[in-house]
Symmetry: C2
Subunit: 303 residues, 2 copies
């Protein structure tokens, strides 16, 4: 539903000169007032779809609601500044639930120096909904958009992939510091965060850049949780890494020489890997362990 709707929106939303980067990227860039570098993004999470309040403490939900937005800012190489929080709380124990949400959210806000600028707190007869809007600013180097990848660029990723459902999707570290470091110390052509899955989001980045992508399966860093999931469901760890959503790692287009240098020096604690390259022909391919190349249907979470 979301992709079809985004297409409809693209046809119906008036283009506004104030938007340096409009809807469709990880966040929008706004030429507001005297500051042409405002970045804004929103994510709404609902009970049962994005978390299960019956099984998870609300403080982790509050943390996640902010973290997914910080991940979107990171994907633009933007520094977080502020956030606002809107809640629809089930009437039962609404007050204690609201407090727990904030008790998870506030420490993350402090960690990344995000000002909680306000909110809107409501009760209703439905399940919990939490919507966070985050505001940031892009670095002087400019926003890291999805559309800048060039054929030949390496696909560079942070961290490891797959099995996020086992806990990482709640407790992940948004790659804010990593993105800011990389934007100022390397040459990034494009970026996206892997919220919906490595293969799907790599494909999205390639599509936005008017090119294709080739993922080298032997080089994809697979999370321990993906191996754990494999023992449970029989899907291979690699397939979990390619298709599972909510890793919230960075997927970057980096010139080959800069990418090789990054991976050789490994400047980030989370690790950096080259997992393939962007190619001229539109589409997504995988190289398997034997070196054979085949088209691959991008998989991941569709909203």
């Amino acid at each position: 539903m979301e992709l079809e709707f985004i297409r409809w929106l693209g046809e119906h939303l008036p283009r506004h000169p104030r938007l340096t980067v409009g809807p469709g990227d990880d966040a929008a860039v706004l030429a507001a007032g005297r500051d042409p570098r405002s970045v804004v993004t929103v994510d709404l999470l609902t009970d049962t779809v994005d978390f299960d309040l019956a099984r998870v403490d609300a403080s982790r939900v509050g943390r996640k609601a902010l973290a997914v937005n910080l991940s979107d800012l990171a994907a633009m190489a933007a520094r977080p500044l502020a956030a606002v929080v809107a809640l629809a709380l089930p009437r039962t124990d609404a007050l204690s639930l609201a407090k727990r949400l904030y008790e998870g959210l506030i420490p993350l806000a402090e960690q990344y120096d995000v000002a909680i600028a306000g909110g809107d707190t409501n009760t209703w007869d439905g399940p919990l909904v939490i919507s966070v809007t985050a505001i940031g600013e892009v670095m002087p180097s400019g926003p890291l958009v999805r559309s800048g990848a060039r054929p030949g660029d390496a696909i560079v990723v942070t961290g490891r992939f797959g099995g996020s459902i086992l806990g990482h999707h709640l407790d992940f570290e948004p790659r804010v510091n990593e993105a800011l470091w990389l934007a100022s110390h390397s040459r990034l052509h494009a970026g996206i965060d892997s919220s919906d899955g490595l293969s799907l989001d790599t494909w999205r980045l390639a599509e936005a850049s008017g090119c294709g992508a080739e993922l080298d399966c032997g080089r994809i860093p697979i999370a321990e949780a993906a191996f754990e999931m494999a023992t449970r469901d029989g899907v291979t760890p690699l397939d979990h890494a390619l298709g599972d959503g909510e890793d919230f790692e960075l997927i970057l287009a980096v010139p080959q020489d800069a990418a090789v240098e990054l991976v050789a020096s490994q400047p980030l604690a989370c690790g950096l890997s080259i997992v393939g390259k962007f190619v001229a022909e539109a589409g997504l391919w995988v190289l398997d362990e034997t070196g054979s190349r085949r088209p691959f249907t991008p998989r991941g979470f569709e909203h």
Copy 2:
């Protein structure tokens, strides 16, 4: 629940130097980057509480979701710049519902030159939730906060009050142009929008300013809808005007001489009225038609 929670938040949210005006006013003012005049506000609306999707076309709901935010910006005397929209859509007919919401929202955005900067569109098993975050900028005269009223100031209001539930709560005009005109042509000490009721929001403005307020019942402009409601439920039109929520008019603290001048010249099509004055003693009073003064318990919608 909301007031108790706001108190809790006040004790637990870290004060951030980036917030010129923090949570608790109609919107927050953010000293972001090179621009110290960003204003941000969020409102989340839910089916059954803020509208009844079974009885109202979704385009009016989409319009309202943006309009309530523009009303908050107006209450800060801020010019709207951009908005982001987060949706939780029931799975049935999600796409057509999303389109109708935007078909109501987009014309209002165009009317007030608001860039729709992005959004997050989700489906789930619950009812419709729509959360809009609006970003604006305050005028060089500064933000119109709640805390600036002084004893002796006139209480000046735009428009008429009461009976909003009959339709005004969906189709009201946010007082953006009025607020900007008043901020640049008169002397405003404080302001709030009447989202929860004339008496409750007047009391809030007084409380935030450390003073009290006295409403002169004979001077309150009563909406036709309040008279219509009175024929249905036997509550007086005046009580509807004092207690009904969602009028979305401006309630302003204005020095007496400037207020008299404004009301004499009537520069705005919506009308301006002096409906009382701010007083030194904390609390809320009403003067009835006979001139007798009594304490009044503020009434209105509590979230």
